[in-house]
Amino acid sequence: MSTERIRIDRRSPRPFSAIQSFAVRYGLGIALVIVWEYAARKAGSIFFPAPSEILHRAATLWLSGPPQRLFLSDSVFQDVIPSLFRLLGGWALAVLIGVPLGILIGRSRNLCDLVNPALQFLRAIPGPALIPIFIILLGTESTMRVTLIAFGSVWPILLNTIEGTRTVDPVQLDTVQAFRIPRHARLWRIVLPAALPKIFAGMRVSLALAVILMVVSELVASTSGIGYRIQNAQIMFLLTDMWCGIVLLALIGYTLNWLFLKFEGRVLGWHRGARGRTATS
């Protein structure tokens, strides 16, 4: 079979297509930043400082420390790191409570139905509405914030775990029953792995929610944290500082999500594979 007379319209040899794909992925973002820079300089509005200003200010705020500490300045240790700890602590708490509880509830159809109305109600309570209650009950320190974050972000995990536990494939359940696999092993080896994709989806949504709750918890009666800094900047009319905080939050949210996806890819590699393939005989 001759392979030469086929004209394939290949205008882009390897190196070009790499540039192309980069341009497609990041082009719009870069273009927007450039437009923003230009427009900000032209308009000179204090409400929308130019990206270059924001970057500069961010460097001053966070990267002006001594080399031994990776150039990180005090405010990173005073605000950013504690915020992150609270965020991750609250989220971890939500996972530790939500997953086992979810499995427990999900295993029993009756319990599911019984508990569902209460869960739907509790998860719908807006996090900010709970702040006064939590402040009165737990004070204004980290305990309150971590608890608030945990309480608010447990719902996606809990509900997804319940759903995942409930919807284990009946064929799989029949199989383990037919092979007389004992009850305790069924939970560990079948129900849990089968529910894991949904559990992870819940954990991811929870993570995003935890970021929001972290900020929210720091906007009220607090003395440190990223949210506090943003609000402080607003009160003191330091627009650029405020934008720095916003950008930082976007970065944190994006990075955490990305990290989690990587982690999920590791643990759930089989799930991607299983879904990608349809049986080809």
């Binding site: 799989q172 029949d174 029953q177 092979f179 007389r180 089989w270 990608g276 049986a279 080809t280």
Partner: protein, 256 residues
């Protein structure tokens, strides 16, 4: 080995699926159960396996009444893709039932290797089920049942979801396994050719609410061959006989 007496089952008081089914299976036999759609073949199989308790009648396995899944019984489902666990390798899948049978780990490993070899899948142990084709997956399911060393192997339309070529290979595989290991097999299928080709006896069910229309003995010589056996006069006769029974519009005999 297996005795079914007046099996009858209804999912809902008005929905009688099986009316009166009785038959025996002797050790070492391959018995097929065929019938039109909805006649309760799968229900029957699940009851045989102890996964469902029948609303009426008795099922005895090795002399004892079946209550719950009995020991030394294995089952192969039609939906191999959903029966094999996607988060473990092929080896892991086959080994799983053995872990709870108090079998030491080296014995387990030996059984896994042996059963993979029996289904001609040695070397695929470390793959994941979804990395294999449909026919191979079903072979893994069969290997899993094999490693379990059951006295009775139940199969629910095991080859319905694979293509014709693969189906022929799998049919031959199953026949070889019976010859090699002497496992009794009960196979539910809608494919009449397959039932005649594989079995020693075919049990024909009527339309729902079903009864046993006939038990057809198949006396074709073994080992059977996909081409030669299917060209034999006897094969064609038996096959037509069964096909006619199933296609007959009268499903309900007066037996209430």
């Amino acid at each position: 080995m297996l005795a079914v007496e007046r099996f009858h089952h209804a999912y809902m008081p008005e929905q009688l699926v099986a009316a009166n089914i009785s038959f025996d299976v002797k050790a070492g036999e391959i018995v097929s159960i065929v019938g039109p759609s909805g006649c309760g073949k799968t229900t029957l199989l699940k009851a045989l396996a102890g996964l469902i308790r029948p609303t009426g009648g008795t099922i005895r396995f090795q002399g004892k009444v079946v209550q719950g899944v009995p020991d030394r019984l294995a089952i192969v489902f039609q939906e191999y893709g959903r029966s094999l666990l996607p988060w473990t390798t092929v080896n892991g899948n086959i080994e799983l039932p053995l872990r709870y049978q108090s079998i030491p780990s080296d014995e387990r490993r030996r059984r896994v290797a042996e059963s993979l070899q029996a289904v001609d899948l040695s070397g695929f142990g470390e793959r994941y089920p979804w990395q294999l084709s449909g026919g191979m997956q079903q072979r893994v399911a069969i290997a899993r049942a094999l490693a379990y060393q059951p006295k009775l192997l139940l199969m629910d339309e095991p080859f319905a979801s694979v293509d014709a070529q693969t189906r022929a290979d799998l049919e031959d595989l199953v026949a070889t396994l019976r010859d090699r290991f002497g496992i009794t097999m009960v196979l539910v299928t809608h494919d009449i050719d397959e039932s005649v080709y594989l079995s020693d006896r075919v049990i024909v069910l009527s339309r729902s609410p079903s009864i046993v229309l006939a038990q057809v003995d198949i006396e074709l010589p073994r080992p059977r061959d996909q081409i030669k056996t299917k060209a034999m006069q006897q094969f064609v006769e038996k096959r037509s006989e069964i096909a006619q029974m199933i296609r007959r519009p009268v499903g309900r005999e007066a037996h209430h």
